[in-house]
């Protein structure tokens, strides 16, 4: 029996420190191991031993703190307790999580006459993984054939172009060049093509070394041609998420930011009420799109048949002045990469015109630990070899994100087998952004199926698919820009010099359908502070505008919600002593 085999393998490897048992089809690992690495190894070994997922509850001695993140809901000491605006309300669907998946699900549900609430614990959507990735809409080649990742990636890739148009956000398909570094990798072309065919990837080509050079004059010497995937695209992941959420709100979805789910009240095999820090309410269907907390949300419903582990990825952004040095996405994987659970990263040409280097893939504890490190950046340096003109000194910033990974390394997109009105969209790691529109369609379909048993569901005839794109002055022609400024002079006052963002664009963002309360939320929408000076010049100006729009003091403005004020109070005089004219 598989479980017995697993037990003896674990005993052989780890001694008596670890126990494995089966719980309703899932393999549950418990005990104590000296290191995080050992815990990871045990988790991976357990895959396939049961009929359901792996739940890894082993405590690692070197990261014992991570165990506290196992079942607790996230804590946020900065939040204002007491306000209970949701108490006693009732919704057809409650979506938990304001990442790209949750927001896409909410918008999909808005196409139907159902009442939907989306709950996000942070002060903005796209706060975690959805603003911390490379923005790639993958072609689907890298996913394991037959996996949900492969299926939803391909479908999502086909949906994004039209969806981006509806949402008024930029989408480009630069295509992805996977370089062959030597004759041995070049010989893998037929295997690559077979895999692409198996995954139903939309097109692939062999490019000779000469063709690669013609397309990308700065490519490294010594390449042996490439596998070219024309369907690979790029998008701004946070803008996409914000746009999805705004479109959902415009079509009647209630988005509640700063609202944390604390548990569920069940009646029989159903969730009756959702408990939050802002009151308890009834929901007929609950969608679990809680990202790195999806296993915790599942546990609230006694449906923790899987657990998540965290894989951190660091990306580096190069100065926009380097943006012209490359047209396509480029990567040069080693043969070892073929067996890896990750795609290995590369050079991504972003929609904003920068080049992004990354991501890395490092197993580290911490559901929301975004610390970067020297060693992670060093790992990225190998990608600079791909393009002869790129230098690490061109980096203007770097950041980390955390992938929410199941031990099976695949998505979980299904109706719960134990809780009749719970739908999971869990373990959505890369290519989650690319897959999101397709995941949303599937999750909405399942949710509506559940609803149909108790109510009549009809399409929302007044659904408006098109969201007007926010005005971006720097992209207009001089004449169009002149018209815009004469209509609204605040479009003529440039606040962020690096990204050329006007006061008017920031005020527009503040007036958008979703509440915008912090500098980071403004940055996600209008980009002030995204450039090479990192807000050194524009921060006070953006603070003034945010304070003005919110009607608060400038010292009350936060970077990212409660507990993150930029200033702690006024100076002794409370007046600036310099001059402003």
């Amino acid at each position: 029996m598989k479980l017995d085999k697993l037990r003896s393998a674990l005993r052989k490897r780890f001694g008596d420190g670890v126990e494995a048992r089966e719980d309703r089809g899932s393999i549950v690992l418990e005990g104590q191991l000296p290191s995080w690495e050992a815990r990871l190894e045990a988790g991976s070994r357990a895959v396939g031993a049961g009929s359901r997922g792996v739940v890894n509850d082993i405590v690692a001695d070197d990261c014992a703190w991570a165990a506290s993140e196992r079942l607790d809901s996230p804590r946020d000491p900065g939040r204002d307790e007491g306000e209970k605006g949701l108490e006693g309300l009732s919704f057809d669907v409650a979506v938990i999580g304001g990442g790209v998946v949750g927001c896409a699900v909410a918008r999909e549900l808005a196409k139907w006459r159902v009442s939907t609430i989306l709950l996000e614990k942070e002060e903005d959507v796209a706060f975690h993984a959805s603003s911390r990735n490379d923005g790639m809409i993958h072609d689907g080649f890298a996913a394991r054939p037959g996996s949900l990742k492969a299926k939803f990636n391909i479908l999502g890739n086909r949906l994004w172009e039209a969806l981006a148009w509806e949402l008024g956000i930029e989408f480009r398909r630069p295509g992805s060049i996977v370089l062959f570094r030597n004759a041995a990798t070049q010989a893998l072309y037929p295997a690559f093509a077979a895999r692409a065919a198996m995954n139903h990837v939309d097109g692939w080509e062999y490019w000779s070394p000469r063709r690669v050079r013609a397309e990308e004059p700065n490519v490294c010497d010594g390449q042996h041609g490439a596998f070219f995937l024309p369907s690979a695209g790029v998008i701004s992941p946070y803008r996409a998420t914000v746009a999805l959420a705004e479109s959902a709100v415009m079509n009647g979805v209630r988005v509640e930011l700063g609202t944390c789910v604390k548990g569920f009240e069940k009646e029989g095999d159903r969730i009756a009420r959702v408990r939050t820090d802002r009151g308890d309410f009834r929901a007929s269907v609950v969608v679990n799109a809680a990202g790195n907390w999806a296993d915790v949300v599942a546990s609230f419903a006694d449906d923790r048949f899987f657990s998540l582990h965290q894989r951190r990825g660091t990306d580096m952004i190069l100065d926009s002045q380097a943006g012209g040095l490359q047209r396509h996405i480029m990567a040069m994987p080693s043969i070892m990469q073929a067996k890896s659970t990750t795609k290995g990263g590369g050079l991504v040409t972003t929609v904003e015109g920068n080049i992004l280097v990354g991501p890395t893939a490092t197993e580290l504890p911490g559901r929301e630990s975004y610390a970067t490190s020297t060693s992670e950046l060093r790992t990225l340096e190998r990608h600079f070899r791909i393009n002869r003109r790129l230098l690490p000194s061109m980096a203007i910033t770097y950041f980390a994100g955390v992938r929410a990974c199941t031990w099976e390394e695949d998505f979980i997109i299904e109706r719960s087998r134990r809780v009749a009105n719970l739908v999971h969209a869990a373990g959505i790691q890369s290519p989650g952004l690319a897959s999101a529109p397709a995941i949303a369609e599937e999750v909405a379909r399942i949710s509506l199926d559940v609803l149909c048993a108790t109510m009549k569901v009809s399409p929302n005839a007044s659904f408006v698919a098109v969201r007007d794109a926010p005005l971006e002055l720097r992209r207009l022609s001089l004449e169009e820009r002149a018209k815009a400024v004469s209509r609204n002079p605040s479009y003529g006052r440039i606040v962020c010099r690096c990204e050329e963002v006007s006061e008017g664009e920031i005020r527009d963002a503040m007036k958008s359908p979703l509440p915008v309360r912090s500098l980071d939320a403004v940055k996600r929408r209008a980009r002030p502070g995204m450039g090479r000076c990192h807000g050194g010049f524009c921060t006070p100006r953006v603070m003034e505008i945010v304070a003005d729009e919110l009607g608060i003091g400038i010292d009350e403005v936060t970077k990212k919600g409660p507990g993150s004020r930029i200033a702690v109070g006024m100076t002794k005089s409370g007046l600036g002593e310099g001059f402003r004219g």
């Binding site: 970067t372 002149a482 409370g574 310099g578």
Partner: protein, 435 residues
């Protein structure tokens, strides 16, 4: 078509360099347009409420706003056309005879317009390096800010950035802010400096740190920031003389604010977009003694190299304004061409960080000023000489030389011998400083 305004000289940037350039150009009779992004002139001086400005130029200790006011008053009394809250979206060179430049400008009050002039002065100043550029890792909470931003918040907005600060970098703005934050009631835990020597002016070390008992930790740096929403602590560590962190020396310092004074970078995005190359040692364009970078572009102030004293910024602005006006007016007189004069290169020998300008135009009247910095502290002083083809043209003895402190030499271009194509700046050190 958008409106086009025509000038002889367009100055981009209304800080000390741009103010001086606009005034000197205007003084020669040129029609001058001055473009400033912010709502008033003065540049960074607006927020520098401490004194110490103008000692060289006016023989007085002025505050930043007072120093700026002297120039602004003159500008306001001149016929210089000042475009406030105006941003240069793009600059392009005209291919037609005579060349010249068209700037695409965006302004709150004047809308979108173009500005044309045969000569362009770039007085775009510099920006601060950020935590990302010095590779401080860890979390990204509120409470991490550059010294200039901290200064703006305190001196312009009237808000306090935190309660307990760690300052990284002993550059002048860092030292000034250590004192300023202390006076405002913040606790400054200490100033950390990666190098073995402080980076700021000696007078600031005394007046901003010693006088307030703020410790200076040399050969130490900040390697990591902690805190999810607001800074809770930083990890400080010792470094060796090469700047590498000494393993095991890390210690946690509790604070809610990290102020960074880790260097300035000349702002040359416009210069690059116009095809100017940069000198890797100054990070500014290569210029002659009037800031001339060729084809009617002139660069001055901190856009050229980071100066220690505003007095020198004004001096370089004046030279650039004068030469820009000369260029514009000679094009008008010569019907579309301005003949370049014979140039010799200025080269800095061993022991120097850099010398500016990189060229001297021998056709230009009047003395040429050469600014330089040495790359290590010479406590015993040194003799600096300028030679051409083995012949010493001039020499000057300095009692002490430190990298943060810029020095200057003046040379009469008429003394450069025929047939020589480069001048060498040479350093004679004392025995004690050679080790």
């Amino acid at each position: 078509m958008v409106d086009r305004k025509e000038y002889d000289v367009l100055v981009i940037g209304g800080g000390p360099a741009g103010l001086a350039a606009a005034l000197s150009a205007s003084g020669t009779g040129a029609r001058v347009g001055l473009i400033e992004r912010e709502e008033c002139l003065g540049g960074i001086l607006k927020q520098c409420v401490h004194d110490g400005f103008g000692l060289v130029r006016f023989g007085q200790m002025l505050s930043g706003p007072e120093y700026a006011r002297r120039f602004i008053d003159l500008v306001e009394g001149s016929d210089i056309a000042v475009h406030l809250e105006t941003f240069v979206h793009a600059a392009r060179r005209l291919a037609s005879a005579g060349g010249g430049y068209v700037l695409e400008c965006v302004s709150r009050d004047e809308g979108v317009f173009e500005a044309y002039a045969p000569a362009l002065v770039l007085a775009t100043g510099c920006r601060e390096r950020s935590d990302r550029q010095v590779f401080i890792h860890g979390d990204r909470p509120a409470g991490v800010l550059t010294a200039g931003l901290a200064q703006h918040l305190v001196n312009i907005e009237g808000v306090l950035p935190g309660r307990r600060a760690v300052i990284l970098g002993s550059g002048d703005i860092g030292l000034i802010m250590a004192r300023r934050l202390t006076l405002e009631g913040m606790e400054v835990e200490g100033v950390y400096e990666l190098k073995a020597e402080p980076s700021g002016l000696s007078r600031n070390l005394q007046q901003c740190l010693s006088d307030f008992g703020i410790p200076l930790h040399l050969l130490m740096t900040v390697v990591e920031i902690h805190g999810k929403r607001r800074v809770e602590a930083v990890t400080a560590a010792r470094v060796d003389l090469r700047g590498s962190v000494i393993a095991g020396s890390e210690r946690l310092v509790e604070c809610d604010t990290l102020v960074l004074s880790v260097g300035l970078i000349p702002e040359n995005e416009l210069a690059l977009s116009l095809g100017l190359g940069l000198d890797p040692s100054t990070k500014g364009p290569k210029v002659d003694q009037g800031g001339g970078a060729g084809e009617g572009i002139f660069v001055c102030g901190n856009a050229l190299h980071v100066n220690d004293l505003v007095d020198y910024v004004s001096e370089s602005g004046e030279a650039a304004g004068r030469d820009a006006a000369g260029h514009a007016l000679s094009i008008g007189a010569a019907g579309g061409t301005a003949a370049p004069g014979r140039r010799v290169a200025v080269k800095a020998g061993p022991g120097f960080l850099y010398a500016v300008p990189q060229f001297i135009d021998l056709s230009r009247p009047g003395p040429a000023v050469i600014y330089f910095r040495v790359n290590s502290t010479l406590r015993e002083g040194a003799r600096v000489s300028l030679s051409a083809a083995g012949e010493t043209l001039l020499g000057k003895r300095y009692p002490a030389l430190r990298p943060p402190e810029m020095e200057r030499l003046e040379i009469d271009p008429g003394r450069v011998p025929e047939g020589c194509d480069s001048l060498w700046l040479e350093l004679e050190r004392k025995e004690a400083d050679l080790g």
